[in-house]
């Protein structure tokens, strides 16, 4: 490449690049030597060490060469970082998006009946839809209202446990428990939100994180109610308007689903039914978000995200407005939680740790914080990719963390980095001239 340049300036450039690469290699050596170079192994009661200096050498050489190439790479060939604010989509773009959404929904409805849709595919699709719904729910809080919530999984847990425990102690079925789960999660969201929503962005983030941990610790330690670390088992499956998905009818119970419709018994029926429940729940979340963005409260959320002080001067009460965003987001988390409980049939505090919150947040961030379509793409990517790369399961979370950093560095506004404008003034700007205040 530039090595052929013979002018002194070129030589200096190469020297500087070599020096910088050498420095990077040295830092890599410092990083790798203790943790990569030595591995602790248990020997009897004590510890012993194995060495892996070859790994260290490979790593240092890779960093050196990589940095050198990066330094000598012509400047105008580099990938541009996108720091600019998200584009406001134009009308043609909006039409394309509507078309994409319509095709997507049609595909989602047809999916269980397509020839390749076996039990595994449908199960995976259910997982994807749960995360889409959680992403959309969290999007109300993070994307629209601009409040970073690191404890979203707490509401998911509240929803799941309210159904699991409601079924155990009061014999609630899924459909009775669903509104209860949503309401309880919303109440918990308000209880948390009320004191902490006056805090600024990153303080709020840490408090919500602490709160998420508190809920998890409470579930683990309140063994009498929640079963502690062992979780709750035997959560009832949903029934189709009272008809269970079973091969045989229970003694004195209603006849099973397949007999009602005169179908062959198949375990797939239950999965397809679950799939449609979560699809409808997710679509309701989406429709709700799209509608509420056009209502005064939704407008207030987005205004608050952009400028809190301006909102205060206009008479919007920031605390109440944030509280509604928090409660609504929590409610959808609660619905998703109840669904999760009935789908798994078993829940334990392990499912509701901080990584789960981070995962949902990553979906929202990757999707572009505010873009509904972006969240769908992100949820599909983050859920399906690990399934394909199962051999890399060990490295899944490692890559996940690295991806979060990379996205913030290169595309901080997400993969799509477009979102629909909050308000569009049709025809007004072109025709009328702005009147100067007299």
């Amino acid at each position: 490449m530039t090595a052929s340049v013979t002018t002194s300036r070129g030589a200096n450039h190469v020297m500087a690049a070599l020096k910088d690469a050498g420095l990077a290699g040295f830092v890599a050596l410092m990083l790798a030597l203790p943790l990569v170079g030595f591995r602790t192994v248990e020997v009897g009661t004590g510890l012993s060490l194995e060495t892996r200096f070859d790994w260290v050498a490979y790593g240092v050489i890779a960093v050196f060469i990589g940095r050198l190439i990066l330094n000598l790479w012509p400047r105008n060939w580099r990938i541009q970082r996108r720091k600019d604010a998200p584009h406001v989509s134009t009308e043609t773009h909006a039409t394309t998006m509507k078309l994409v959404a319509a095709v997507g929904i049609a595909f989602a409805i047809l999916l269980p009946f397509l020839p390749f849709a076996d039990r595994y595919v449908i199960d995976l699709a259910i997982t994807v839809l749960i995360y889409i719904m959680l992403g959309w729910g969290l999007n109300i809080v993070v994307g629209l209202a601009g409040l970073l919530d690191l404890g979203y999984v707490a509401f998911y847990a509240v929803g799941a446990y309210s159904f699991a425990l409601g079924a155990r102690y009061w014999g609630l079925n899924f459909w009775e428990a669903l509104p209860v789960a949503g309401a309880l999660a919303a109440i918990v969201g308000m209880l948390l939100g009320f004191p902490v929503l006056r805090l600024r962005g990153d303080y709020l983030a840490i408090v919500t994180l602490g709160f998420g941990e508190m809920i998890r610790l409470l579930i683990i330690n309140w063994q009498g109610l929640t079963g502690g670390p062992n979780g709750v088992t035997g959560i009832p499956r949903p029934s189709f308007f009272g008809f269970p998905f079973a091969r045989e009818a229970e003694e004195g119970g209603p006849i099973p689903f397949h007999e009602v419709f005169g179908l062959e018994y198949s375990t797939l029926h239950r999965f397809i039914f679950l799939y449609f429940i979560i699809l409808i729940l997710a679509l309701i979340t989406n429709a709700f978000t799209m509608r509420i963005r056009r209502l005064p409260i939704g407008r207030a959320w987005e205004a608050l995200r952009e400028d809190e002080i301006a909102c205060k001067s206009l008479g919007i009460n920031p605390t109440n407005t944030k509280l509604t965003a928090f409660a609504v987001g929590a409610m959808f988390g609660g619905f998703a939680g109840a669904f999760f409980a009935t789908r798994q049939g078993f829940i334990s505090p392990e499912s509701f740790n901080f990584l789960e919150s981070a995962f949902i947040l990553a979906i929202v961030v990757l999707g572009g914080m505010g873009s509904q379509t972006g969240i769908v793409i992100a949820a599909v990517l983050l859920t399906v990719l690990p399934e394909i790369g199962r051999d890399l399961a060990e490295f899944r979370m490692l890559l996940f963390g690295a991806a979060m950093i990379a996205i913030m560095v290169w595309r901080p506004y997400g993969l799509l980095s477009r979102r629909a404008p909050t308000i569009q003034l049709k025809g007004q700007l072109e025709s009328g001239t702005v009147k100067e205040p007299t």
């Binding site: 830092v27 720091k83 970073l148 006056r198 962005g201 990153d202 983030a205 913030m408 901080p412």
Partner: protein, 304 residues
């Protein structure tokens, strides 16, 4: 009374560790205005390097305790500082000037990355080492209850106090300290006056990492067990300490650390050990509600 005294000693020891980590949070928040979420992981890496160095020294036959402790401290400080520098360089520096929450999200990514990095490299099992510093001084002996302060507790408290004094001198008396405080107030102005802002921020991260590494070594000596997950809880508690003391205030971070340590020790002793973390988080939330600037913090004025 004896029991109370013993718990106070334990609480102060624990608090010293939290305080050392909390300084890292407070300094970084002061200079770049972000929560370095990966700081707990830096502490965990410090603890791991301590375990590895102890084991290595044991295999090399260096068993003279003061020498071993010194070598371990030095190794942990140097290597962990490299991690502190790299974390800032990779995950935070490119994000300056991005939107507010971007560095925090990037920091969460870094935290997840480092946790799994250590888990993959060193395994998920809990690593335990033989006690290195043993014995203690009995203070009160009533026959049925002994109050002891162990040598390791003395070491932790003394080292923390020494580091605090040295660190305060560094900030108030040296050129670096002046540059650091200047960058805290106004980075553009500091740059115009010839201060290398990037270098000052990098050094701040390295100092934070060094203090966290000391905390990691101390915990390794104190409990003798380390796993890849210890950074998360310790990080949140140290952050709570920083907030309690008033974020941005160094004395506040130390005070907050001691208070959180004491609360945790008393709560475990008198109420229930299971709910001690809930108690800590509740304190964090209560402080933020009633005194958002912390005990020693300056009020934060919002401007248009």
């Amino acid at each position: 009374m004896e029991y109370f005294l013993q718990q106070t000693i334990n609480g102060i020891t624990l608090g010293a560790v939290y305080g050392l980590i909390a300084i890292g949070y407070t300094m970084v928040y002061g200079i770049v205005g972000m929560i370095n979420f990966a700081h707990g992981e830096i502490y965990m890496i410090g603890a791991f390097i301590a375990v590895i160095t102890f084991t290595l020294l044991g295999m090399l036959g260096i068993t003279f305790v003061p020498l071993a402790v010194l070598i371990v401290l030095a190794a942990a400080m140097v290597f962990t500082a490299a991690y502190g520098w790299t974390v800032e360089r990779i995950a935070y520096r490119p994000l300056r000037g991005s939107f507010r929450l971007a560095p925090l999200i990037s920091a969460i990514g870094m935290s997840i990355f480092l946790q799994n990095y250590v888990q993959i490299l060193q395994g998920a099992r809990v690593k335990s080492i033989q006690p290195v510093v043993t014995g203690g001084i009995p203070i009160i002996d009533t026959g049925h209850f002994h109050v002891t302060i162990t040598y390791i507790q003395i070491l932790i408290i003394a080292l923390t106090i020494a580091l605090m004094i040295g660190f305060s001198l560094l900030i108030t008396r040296t050129n670096f300290g002046r540059a650091q405080r200047a960058c805290e107030q106004d980075q553009t102005m500091a740059a115009l006056l010839g201060i290398d802002v990037d270098r000052t921020i990098s050094t701040t991260f390295m100092i934070g990492a060094i203090l966290a590494a000391v905390a990691g070594v101390m915990v390794t000596l104190y409990y003798g067990v380390v796993d890849f997950f210890i950074g998360f809880q310790a990080g949140i508690k140290a952050f709570a300490a920083a907030v309690l003391g008033g974020i941005g205030s160094l004395a506040g971070a130390m005070l907050g650390g001691f208070l959180i340590g004491l609360v945790e020790a008393y709560w475990s002793a008198y109420f229930s050990i299971e709910y001690k973390d809930i108690a800590t988080f509740s304190i964090l939330i209560l402080v933020l509600i009633f005194r958002p600037t912390g005990l020693l913090g300056r009020p934060d004025i919002e401007k248009v």
